[in-house]
Every structure is written in C-alpha cells, then in structure tokens.
Point group: C2
Chain length 336, copies 2
C-alpha cells in the first residue's frame, strides 16, 4: 500500500511514528511505502544556518532521536554552541538550538551551499535516521525557499493600523503565538514549485492522509504551493484527515491562534471546511462525533475515536483508524 | 610604548600572553599598546564555516579560554556537533572542532556572510575575550582570503614527479607534517593586501617583536603579503625576534619540516637569515649563544637566555628579554 501524508512538525511526526507502527503491525504480504511531504514554511536561517524545524521533527521522531518531552530537537542535548553565541551577543537567543541539532543544521547548510537541493539534503538526513529501513520517504514540500510570515500590529508604532510582519518562528516561539495574528503571508510562495516527487506521490498514492498537523501554518502552507491542491483534488486515492481540534481546542500547539485570523471556527468541522474540496474521510474525536461536516463538492465520511496522542501506542491506534477509514472508502469505490 | 608583534598560533599566543604579563609588571606611567598582526594563511573553511586557527589561538590564550595542554581550542570542550557531523559522514573528521569553538566559527561565518571584514569580526571576538582591557589590538594580517598550500608528492600517482597541493591544515594536522613538503604556495597571495592598520602598526611602533612563531608558515606568510616586508625594512622601530629554534630543533610544532624545503638550516642562525633584511635584535637560547648571525645590510645584535616557554611566567621572562633588547637598541640609536 502506498500512503502519502502531508505533515507539519511535532504533532505530525508523532502521528507518523504511530502510523509506521500500525503499518508494521498489519498482517500484510505487501510492504508499505509511506511518503511524507513535509512543510518547509517554518524554515528559518539562524546564525547563518538553515533550520528546517518540521522536517527535523519528523526525522528525529521517526529515527528515535527526538527530545520526547518537547517533540522537537534532540534527546540528551547540550547547549555549548548556543552559550558561546550568547557570549558573542549573536541574536536571536529566543531560539534555543542544541549542539547535536546544530550538527544537522551545519551539515544541511554545507550541502545546500554546495548546490544540493533540499530534497537531496533531506534524503541524506533520512538515511542517517534510518527512514528508508522503515519504508518511509521524506520529501520537502518545495525546494523553493519559502517563509511563513505573521502580520501583527506594529508594537513600536503609535498608529493603531500600522503593521509589521515577523517570521513565523519569532511569532510561534518568541511570542508564543500570544500576539494576535492579523494574517499570514508566505514569502516566496509565488515562485514556489512542488519539490520533485511531491505531486507524483499524491497522484499515485493508494491513500492520502492528513495527520493532525496545524491546518493553517503546516498543512495550509503545503496546500498553498501551486499544484498541490489540484493534485489532491485529482488523485484517485481517498484523502483522509485527522482532526487537530478536539472539542474546540487544539490538541497541542496554537492552531486556535492560527484559525482565528482566517475566520475559521476552532472546531473539527471548521478545519474540515478548509479541506472540503478534496477531503473524503475525516477522523474526529469522540467528543466531536456529532459535528456537522460542511458541505462540499462530494460526500465526506466522518468517524470518531479518541484522538489524544498520549504515546506511540495511542498514535498507532489513531493512525490505524485513519487507515481503516481510507480502506473502507477504497472498498466503497470499487464495490459494485 | 607601542609594540607591534607578528604572530602565528600556539607558540606566538603563549609568548604574547607572557608579553602582556611582562608589560603589566613594568613600572611605567605610560600604558602599553600592543598590536598583534595575526597570520591568516592557516585559515580554512570546514563544514562551510570559516576557521582562523591562529587568530583563535591568540584570542583564546589571551582571553583565558584556551585548552592549555594543546594550546588551541577551548577548555572544558564537548564534541557533540562533531559527533553528529560524523554520524552524517561529513568530512573532514581529522580536524576535531569542539562545541564552544564551533560557536566562534558560526559567529565568524555569520558576520563574514553579512559583509563584515575579518578585521571587524576579529575585533568583535577580541572584545568577547577582553583583549582591549589588556591593551591588545588583534589585527588579521590581511582581509584577502589566502590559504597556505603544501606541495607534496602525489601519493596516488605512479609518476614520481607528480605533485599534489594540500591545504596547510591537512598537511599539519592530518599528516602531522610527516609527509615531505616540496614547497609552500599561498593561494590568493598575489591579490592580498594588508588589512587596515597593519602597515601603520609596523610603521608607527616603538618596537616590533617577532615571537617564536613558525618562520615559514606563520611569520613567513605575513611577510609575504605585499607591503609588510617593506614596512618592516622602513620602520624606525627596532625589530627584535625570538628564535623558535633551540639547539637545532623547534621548541614545538614542525618548524624543521617547514625550513627544510626552503634549504634553510634548522638553527637559530638559519631562521635569523630569513629576517636579515629588517632584523635588529635576535634573542636565542643559551645553547645557541655562540651562533654566527648571518650578515646583512645592517648589524643584528643577539642575546641569549633560556627560551623554553614552560609556563606563562617563563614566557613573561622571555618576552621581557625581547623588550629589554629592543629598549637597548632604541637607546643606542638615540645615544650621542
């Protein structure tokens, strides 16, 4: 079975680890192929080094090297480099990069500087984290440098209408998404093209899954890359999503702060509405079992089960629910 | 008193630390100004980061952050970044950079990438290591990227006359200078110009000192930058050197392996011969007190004292000897 997933960082990575566990546990002769299309809108150049937070969370989580408690960065981390940068008054200090993590960014920056694409670089990093052995291919959504910016009220202006755009990471990490976002813009999106393999992975999949990643700044960014949304609309595979909202609040992260500027209700139904043009199945938490799925061009089947990813086993059960929903949708299509 | 010193890495740095200690101990109302012109021929780009081994040895040693036993790199170092680079199969692995040290190289590379000159960058690093508080200004010899290459017999060729050039650091660190050097070449030297302040520091000094640095690949590289040698010939200040050779062998490092390709005897006299056109005073070890100083355009005064820099106190005594020799030469010039 060829599965393609669009993913952000922490939540997506944990879901994918559960998905791999579920797929490994299935009684099947056919090996699975899981292609993950990772968000690159969060990418940022810090200290001259290219950092790809979402791709790295997927790599470290699937590779067993992630800091479990925070869901990003490396376990058993030290911070000698960052301490030295602080001694040198190098900004920003609000983004704490550990030493092992820094090794990833140094290597990535080196390789990109040599002219390798982010696709090439990500494949190298994926080998270091044994993704191929797990049947997983990780693709950046695009090799075009794009950066999600958040437009906020200018804190330094007396003019209440004055605005300022800050990098997504500054808003997310430094401001902890507490400063109201007026809107999101993605620098470079106009020139972005999907990375090699991205559209093919969507078109040729047996099943497309949207993990419970942030629908605006993770999945939403990938969907904004010209061609991706059309590929999702056109694929023969059922597209099954897992709600990142449980009972009106995000499972983790600040999805609510991202949905509000779009005028989208912070609800499982609200998020489904963002995907209504291509979504076939929608997995919600039991507390949301009675949601009214927004109407769209085609029927969206929804099911409910507990969606709290408390550990890898829980994530595996959730992923299993998404896969089952997808298989049932496939079955229904081929039924006489 | 304005003193200008030309310096390489470890040996030069230890001498300079002794010189600062000596100058601080002098009973003088006039504060000293010590300008250090540091060799940049050893500089190398590793992992995409710009590393300046000689400048860093001076910074770390004067700043109290050096790994005392090796004379370069930082004390209390960890190697998490390098371990991650190894896991990613990033070469070279023969140049071990610690995590704190890596912070220096990341900051330097960032600032250079922003368009700052190596002079600017070095001044920032010098502030972090409190060099101004010690009356010390550290100047890179040139802001032009230059790289010392070592021509060796090509180990992969059947042709005994075939040659290969390797970066100085590869020869020095990986090969430990055991592979015979046929000659040294300096990539970029043809376009090199002295960094701002370098020629002025030589011209306007009261005393110029050559620490016991490598005469070929440290001092020799600085002397090769167009204009530097002429400034030394033309300065009114006496130029006093400290021999890096004691009784026919280098105090440390591989000066012998560097002198041989030049056909220069590995002796205190041999090294003095390299400086004969501008040297006024030459401090040698007691075992070399009877050397025959090569003849040149002017008289070279030599003195002897123990030159083994076993610790900072010993270095201070040696530096004091060089300063006294310089003062005596000044005195002799102004004597009626």
């Amino acid at each position: 079975m060829r599965i393609t997933a669009l993913s952000g960082g922490v939540g997506g990575a944990r879901f994918l680890r559960g998905l791999v566990k579920h797929l490994d546990s299935r009684d099947s002769d056919e090996p699975h192929e899981l292609t993950v299309i990772g968000n690159t809108g969060d990418d940022i150049t810090l200290f001259g080094l290219r950092v790809c937070p979402d791709l790295d969370s997927v790599l470290y989580t699937l590779g067993g090297g992630v800091n479990e408690s925070q869901g990003w960065g490396r376990e058993d981390e030290s911070f000698a480099v960052q301490a030295e940068l602080k001694a040198l008054a190098v900004e920003p200090q609000w983004f704490g990069l550990g030493d092992r993590d820094m090794g990833t960014h140094i290597a990535r920056s080196l390789w990109l500087g040599q002219g390798q694409t982010l696709t090439d670089v990500t494949a190298k990093l994926a080998r270091r984290w044994a993704l191929p052995e797990q049947g997983v291919t990780l693709l950046p959504a695009t090799n075009t440098p794009i950066e999600t910016h958040v437009v906020i009220a200018d804190p330094d202006s007396d003019d209440p209408t004055a605005e300022r755009a800050v990098h997504f990471q500054e808003w997310w990490v430094r401001m902890q998404a507490k400063t109201e976002a007026k809107r999101f813009t993605v620098a470079g999106m106009g020139q972005a093209i999907p990375a090699p393999g991205v559209l093919e992975a969507i078109r040729n999949a047996d099943l497309v899954i949207l993990p419970p990643s942030n629908p605006v700044v993770s999945i939403g960014i990938i969907l904004g890359i010209p061609g991706v949304r059309d590929a999702l609309r056109g694929t023969r595979a059922p597209v099954v999503g897992v709600s990142p909202i449980i009972g009106g609040a995000p499972v983790r992260g600040h999805a609510d702060a991202c949905l509000r500027p779009l005028g989208v209700p912070v609800s499982a139904a609200g998020v489904a509405g963002l995907y209504v043009d291509f979504l076939n199945g929608w997995l919600v938490d039991d507390v949301d079992s009675d949601i009214a799925i927004p109407s769209g061009p085609h029927r969206i089947t929804h099911r409910s089960q507990p969606l709290l990813m408390s550990d890898t086993d829980a994530a595996s059960v959730i992923a299993g629910g998404a896969v089952e929903l997808g298989l049932d949708l496939m079955q229904a299509r081929t039924a006489p």
